[in-house]
Amino acid sequence: MVSLADLFGYAFLVPLLMVLSFVIVGLAGTRLKRFEWGGWLAVGFAGAALVVGVLIAAAELMDPSRYTNVQFTWFHLPAAPGVFPNGFSLVAGTLVDPISALMLLVVTVVGFLVMLYSIGYMHHDHGLPRYYAELSLFLAAMSGLVIANNLFEFFLFWELVGVCSYFLIGFYYEKPSASSAAKEAFLVTRVGDVMFLLGIFIYFYYYATTGPSGGWAANGFVFVRGTTPFLAGAMGGQSTVLTVAGIMILGGAAGKSAQFPLHVWLPDAMEGPTTVSALIHAATMVAAGVYLLAVTSLFIGFTSTDQLAIVAVGGFTTFFAATMAVVHPDIKRVIAYSTISQLGYMVLAVGAGFAMVGLFHLFTHAFFKALLFLAAGSVIHAVGTQDLFKMGGLRKSMRVTAAAFAIGGLALAGIPPFAGFWSKDDVLSAVYSQLPSHPAYWPFFVLAVAAVFLTAYYIFRAWFLAFSGDKPRDPTLPHAHEGPWVMQVPLVVLSAFAVGAGLFIFWPNFQGLLLHGAGAAGIPPVYGPADLALSATSVFLGVAGIGLAWALWGHGKVFVLADSSPVQPLRRLLLNRYYFKVGFDWIGAKGVYTVARAADFVDRFVIDGTVHGFERMFAELSDRLRRIQTGVVSDYAAYVVAGLIAVFVLLLFVAPYLVAKFGGG
């Protein structure tokens, strides 16, 4: 009998379909003008991938206890004494388990909707075959990463995701700011990638002999499900090494997920098309970092020091990024900062030991963040600017967009029953439940709670600025109108998810997915009185934030901070992003340049100087020596005679004297 679960062995179809789309659109896109330069083709492939992804997720939901690992061994080195006493394998394969099914759902749904939306949004742009091909490859890489069953395959797709984000952020490569933002994204995440690779090497070296089937290396570094993460237990004696490896993994995730202090690239990545931002922020690039942390914590394990570090990074980033969003005038950058902040919540949850709670927030966040970006894209498409202070009154002409943005905002602010409330509340109560045993988490918990208020404030500040009031503040803006249906449908679908995705938590099968994904540890918290108080607090903070935004910016008002105001320096600090970019630039321009200049000095004057010094010495000497060549025959004869006399003197006088003095035979 054929059942849906048979599909688990065919999970590779999802990346394969998108790779096919990449190849076909990339090669033949310029001849497919009738199909929106291959765009409809890419939508078709994304739709097929969506069907496979949804079916796999559905089958996993029906029976959440299933772990289906399909693999083939690429090569196997036989056992040899030394580092790999049990041999060493490299395998390629797919693992369908609760977490990868969940992620696959997110990636395919958001990917398909973004692809569909692009048809409308990108219609007037040039280079569309390149755009759709790269978008396809991006989705292929991300879905490949999600279903990878071992650490090396994971890293391979991880790098592919990175390079695709580089391509797409720099899509408008004629713009210097776009190409430099692409380079920035690539280089900053590269710092994280190097750390990730170091982490893999440490695991590689220390866990060659431990783990399932007599050695993780012999097993091809496949993620194996156990009741507890196997390596943490097996390598208790190596906890320092494990800590270092965990910090390296955290570094890789921080680079990809734009966590402090590697967050600088994400706001600049707004230089890409808005659709790309939506994809990067919701389903692909930044989700990979959180997914890496979750996978590592479930299959490999973190030490308690690592956990504290992860909680610290996540909790701090949550607040830190939210403060920067408060003052920014660019609609896309406000949402970008909110992504960094929300990713902080996910990292926080994973660090506190609740990987599945973090992934639940990732799941809901993917929908409402994609919604917010696509709504913002709709606005930008209509008015042609990203400056919030030029917009205003768009509510009247763009009802669907205004409603979608509001729903996304409510979900982001954590107002029940919207999606963000349930997952954010889970994150907060998960961390709260760890506070008695880990008092060090307190400051980061407080920061995360405080960020709820800021989040609600800044997203509704953006909403009021763009949509409330009577008319745009800049009268030169074109008359706004809704986009075509391909842009509205994704907004409606994502709105439905943004409203309802959080309610999934009440579906027993979905709960089962989260429970089984977590193994024995990291079960989502049950709701009790303390949680109720916490929920009430966070909802109150959210409502207060919205209220403040309404008071300051509602009805098209513009709140202008007086120049003499004491918080003016703070505002400048936030607008300048805490001078982080300036600082990094300074490190690059001054620090590295100084070192480079010193190296240049050594190279030029010490090393080259020595070489040139020898050269000049011999040139000088030979020039002196050359002068004895007069060309006059008598002079040469004189030298010969002088030499002869010298030989005679040597033989007749010096040699006998030396023999007499020192003896000899």
Partner: protein, 105 residues
């Protein structure tokens, strides 16, 4: 034969050599230079002849033979030298060796 006066003969050839070397170092005329070289060379040949006679017997014949060969060498050397003199004269219109310094570099 061993009664020959060594100091006299060796002194004669040493004097000849000194005269030759003096000529080589001081003469600027190519022909005079060649003559000086001949004188210095003949000092050497004279030494061969003298020491061959001093040694005597068959062993001494070797010295005499070398002396004859060296006379031949001296003749060829003069032939080559005079050819150079002619060529130099044709080239520069002068046989002053101090002026012929082109081969310096």
């Amino acid at each position: 034969m061993s009664g020959l006066p060594i100091v006299g003969f060796v002194g004669l050839s040493a004097a000849l050599l000194a005269v030759g070397i003096f000529g080589i170092l001081t003469r600027r005329n190519f022909i005079l230079l060649l003559i000086a070289i001949e004188i210095a060379m003949n000092a050497g040949i004279l030494n061969f002849v003298y020491f061959a006679a001093y040694t005597g017997g068959t062993a001494g014949l070797t010295g005499q033979a070398i002396a004859v060969v060296l006379v031949g060498f001296a003749a060829t050397e003069v032939a080559v030298g005079l050819a150079i003199v002619l060529a130099l004269n044709r080239l520069r219109g002068s046989i002053n060796v101090a002026e012929a310094t082109e081969l310096r570099r």
